[in-house]
């Protein structure tokens, strides 16, 4: 104890000496510190308020609560400062680094926690309290460091004035520069970095008031922190993905936000998975079951040769792969909303390999448009009914934008594009998990004038899955695999899942998937979206 007291005394002695020699420059520099500290402090507060209104909604309440808690905590910090009687300089530097750490990671941590638990309020207010208290601690400590250099009235007036100026900078920079240019996560990391640098700088401005060992320790930690935060600023994109990884279970190998959706590819068990907006679209290890079942029975059911095929949705290119197994195919058009998805399937090597580079096939035409509008346009143009086979493979109807692609209106327009004897196969959600949704799709196809054979298949990563095989006019469920040809059938090679016997089994629906009477899905009721959501609840 005695040591410490002497140290403190000694420090003060040295401080006076230094102040004499070093003072004229040191004081303005410490005042610059005040401004920077004020900027960072207010930015953390604004960040917390923005993140909370983002994640918790009700911005008015969130903003005023955060501001209230923050100000109270600052008061708390100021009050605590009186208990720091020794090693004020060290305390100041420590506080700086702590703010850098906690403030700098505040936004990433919040998003991370939200991704993990879906809840964020507790952590948020904890963060606000701690940051507020630390910021509140900072100014009194700094003022005490400066008290020997200046008269009290000068000190108080300058420190407070600069503090408020800093607040002004922050409130201008935050909405005009930081949020639009950096985003929330990067802004937090950048402020943390600035705090860490200021902390480091303070170790040199206050070097005569710090013991060498304390200075060294502070500097090492400061450098590590600053470097870590700087890396964070540069790699913030990866951090967002790390947060997502908690949601996706498996390591993310690719992620992209297109104007239409968020595409995430994860990798696990020597396989990979593609998610659209968090919904699993395919698992490379068992997608062949899904895509073989989607395409080959429909081909086998054709009442005419297979020459022209249309794929709606299905940007992953896997239905294309199955179609191109048939050499008699002359032309395939794929309509997928998202250029991000089709270019991923073309360029992302694992996926390109999986779809056997179907996108390079010269028979393919890719159209990036909303299939609803494309079909509407074709039907209006009075195009002849020219498609032998239509593969409809959209994501599940979990919003109205997708729900419109499962309406009677859409199917009616589509029907007009199908050649006589042509077939349409529709991905129709799970007849087991969301039974009523499945039958709504089948009933809607029927209401649009199709004859439909319901189908089911098991895909381990999805569960039991369902399709509707539809045609205009009566037709029988297929019994033999292969595309009809002069004098027989062409059966493609290399199939891993379907053969004629397995295919016949797909048209048998067990009792627990039996038909239920349901209303037809229309554009002006979109009951499917609500039904799917309600049924899906049970399985989540």
């Amino acid at each position: 104890m005695g040591d410490v007291a002497r140290d403190a005394e000694g420090g003060r002695e040295v401080g006076r000496e230094v102040a004499a020699a070093y003072g004229p420059r040191r004081v303005p520099l410490l005042f610059l510190n005040v401004v920077i500290i004020a900027v960072c402090g207010l930015v953390y507060e604004l960040l917390a308020a923005t993140v909370s209104s983002y994640l918790l909604g009700d911005s008015v309440t969130q903003f005023s609560l955060v501001i209230g808690v923050y100000l109270t905590s600052m008061g708390l910090g100021a009050w605590i400062s009186r208990y720091i009687n020794m090693r004020v300089a060290r305390g100041f530097c420590e506080v700086q680094l702590l703010i850098a750490l906690i403030g700098g990671t505040s936004a990433p941590v919040l998003f991370f926690v939200f991704g993990l638990t879906g809840k964020v309020a507790v952590v948020l207010y904890l963060e606000v309290t701690v940051i507020g208290a630390l910021v509140g601690l900072e100014l009194p400590l700094l003022m005490r460091l400066l008290e020997k250099d200046l008269q009290f009235k000068d000190l108080i007036s300058r420190v407070l004035a600069l503090d408020y100026v800093g607040a002004l900078f922050a409130s201008l920079l935050f909405p005009l520069v930081f949020v639009p240019m950096l985003g929330l996560v990067r802004t937090a990391l950048l402020m943390g970095f600035v705090n860490a640098v200021v902390g480091l700088w303070a170790t040199s401005l206050l070097r005569f008031e710090l013991r060498p060992s304390a200075r060294a320790s502070l500097r090492v930690r400061g450098v590590i922190l600053a470097v870590a935060l700087a890396v964070g600023v540069i790699k913030a994109e990866a951090l967002t993905e790390m947060a997502e990884e908690r949601v996706f279970r498996d390591p993310i190998v690719y992620a992209e936000s297109t104007p239409y959706q968020r595409i995430v590819v994860t990798s696990a068990h020597e396989s990979f998975q593609v998610y659209l907006n968090g919904q699993l679209q395919l698992d490379a290890s068992d997608e062949y079951r899904y895509h073989e079942a989607l395409v080959h029975p429909a081909v086998a059911a054709l009442g005419r040769p297979l020459r022209r095929a249309l794929v709606l949705g299905g940007g992953d290119g896997l239905a294309l792969r199955e179609l191109f197994r048939y050499p008699q195919v002359e032309a395939v058009t794929l309509v997928d909303l998202d250029p991000g998805m089709t270019s991923l399937s073309r360029r992302f090597e694992p996926l390109a390999a999986l779809n056997r580079r179907s996108y390079e096939d010269r028979r393919l035409t890719v159209v990036n448009e909303d299939a609803f509008l494309w079909v509407d346009g074709e039907a209006k143009d009075g195009r002849e009914a020219a498609w032998d086979l239509v593969v409809v493979d959209f994501p599940d109807p979990n919003n109205y934008g997708l729900g419109k692609l499962y309406t009677r209106h859409f199917y009616q327009r589509l029907r007009a594009l199908v050649a006589p004897g042509g077939r349409v196969v529709v991905q129709s959600t799970s007849p087991l998990a969301v039974n009523r949704s499945y039958w709504t799709i089948i009933a809607t196809l029927e209401a649009a004038g199709f004859v439909v054979h319901p189908m089911q298949v098991t895909v381990p990563s999805f569960g039991v899955w369902g399709f509707g095989l539809a045609g205009v006019g009566d037709f029988a469920a297929p019994r033999e695999l292969g595309a009809p040809e002069a004098g027989g059938r062409f059966v493609p090679e290399g199939l891993r899942f379907v053969d004629s016997e397995v295919m016949r089994g797909m048209f048998v629906l067990p009792r627990d998937m039996a038909r239920v009477e349901v209303e037809v899905n229309r554009l002006d009721n979109q009951i499917l979206v609500r039904r799917y959501e309600a049924e899906g609840e049970r399985w989540r």
Partner: protein, 557 residues
Amino acid sequence: MALDGLSRRDLLRIALGAPFMGLAPRLLSGCGPGRGVPEGELLDFGRARAHAALRDSRGMTLANMPADIARERRGVVVVGGGVAGLAAAWRLVGEGGLGERGDVLVCELEDVVGGTARAGRSELSAFPWGAHYVVAPFSEDRAMVRLLGEMGCFEGVDRHGHPNAAEGAAVRELEERHFFEGRFSAGLYPGDGETAEEKAERERFGRRMDALAGAVSARGRAFTLPVSQVAEVDGVDAAALDRMTFAAWLEAEGFRSWRLEWLCDYACRDDYGTSAAACSAWAGLLYFIARRRPEVGLEDRAVITWPEGNGRVVEHLARQVGATRIETGAMVLDVEADDAGARVLVVDRAGRARVIACDSVIVATPRHVARHVVRAYREAPPAWMDAFTTAPWVVVNLHLSRRPETVGVAQAWDTVFIGSASVGYVDAQHQRGRDHGPTVWTWYRPLFEAGEVRKQCEAVGREGWVEAALSELELGHPDIRRCVVRADVGRLGHGMVRPVPGLRRHLESARVAPHPRVRVAHTDLSGVALCEEAVDHGLRAAEEVLAARGGDVRSWR
């Protein structure tokens, strides 16, 4: 930043009205109009041309025309190419032409037809400048059934014989959403946090409306559209309901939930440009009841809409009438008639005046225009004239390069901000099924306020209104400013007739022709501004003309 001499705070108050000002500090501290207001133009409907023409032709009447003025002969002249005028011409043409006595000519002041139902078009989308939907009619509204039937809006009839709206014609789900407490939710009613008491009140309100919707006598219904089919029904004192305001009626019935109050006030502002406190109880109830029939099921009738709004109806009518029978840019200055015939003084697009002699005239303009144009009104203004007042509207068309972000329910045709003075916006591309990429949002603000506030609002220019609209939309779409590529503003100085208490009892007199050869048609003659009413009056006036010519006229009404 000051726009039109107003601060951002003023603009917010104007856009949102007083109740919303709690949010202002946050908005004001948020990203301001950094990059300035997007470009666009200001359209003053009716006003610009009318004022210019009036300046050039001040005091021009049929009486003081030079003898050598150009003259022309027609069968019937229709003054005004809004829905009412076009419907009248549609009816006359539908009778197989008017024979050797001359054809129909519609004179429309603006460069395009449509009036308050006109549409605009850009590379991004077609969009409305005013009326944007009609409600699927019941079978009794034969005129609307015929019109919308011609347009292919129906598929079959239900078991009561009422036409079913076709799937592509009825508004696509999600029809409506509202912004409340930081997020969008489905529907118009702000149900989040509703108490048991409020819920009970809402249900009681529904039952009350059903009871009134079921008020039928041998002669007809107490509330229906068009209002010419409204009949006396025991237990419904229409005259008394017309004397009180809707707000007073709600109060008297013990409806006190702010949520319900908001919905009712919104309904009046949306359909009538008038607050519930200024709107008659009769009109307020008409909104809720006319499209409701207990026996058909309590679901309200389907709403029918198009990207360009009722501009589609206008286009259909204009096509049926034929381009040769419509003259745009033609302002009618005077209409007079005597036993020998009627005469119309027109100034055409090039500013040339001419006189059209004809058998009959149908004046399909609002009252405030008819009062100056029709000589009989001008010389002896009828007592009822002053009972007609109008509410101005401001329409902001925001052309978007992409869809802004949304918190909560995404994609709806109609979006409303709870607590705001505006009535929200409609998305032009919604009905086409386009959920991504460019579209036009049409934002509506009725100037329902009186006195100072109204004057202040009327002084706001294009930039001010765009800023006001964006300030509101920013609440729910934080990045909207980055999506807007163009913003046009339309001011409809006399947008809608105001169904204020006491107006209804004058309607019958106002419908009476000022001269047997001069018939009147316009939605304001029903005391409410609705497509159904415009069509009804157009057909009535046309059939009055046809009847006067003699012969057997089968009514379309």
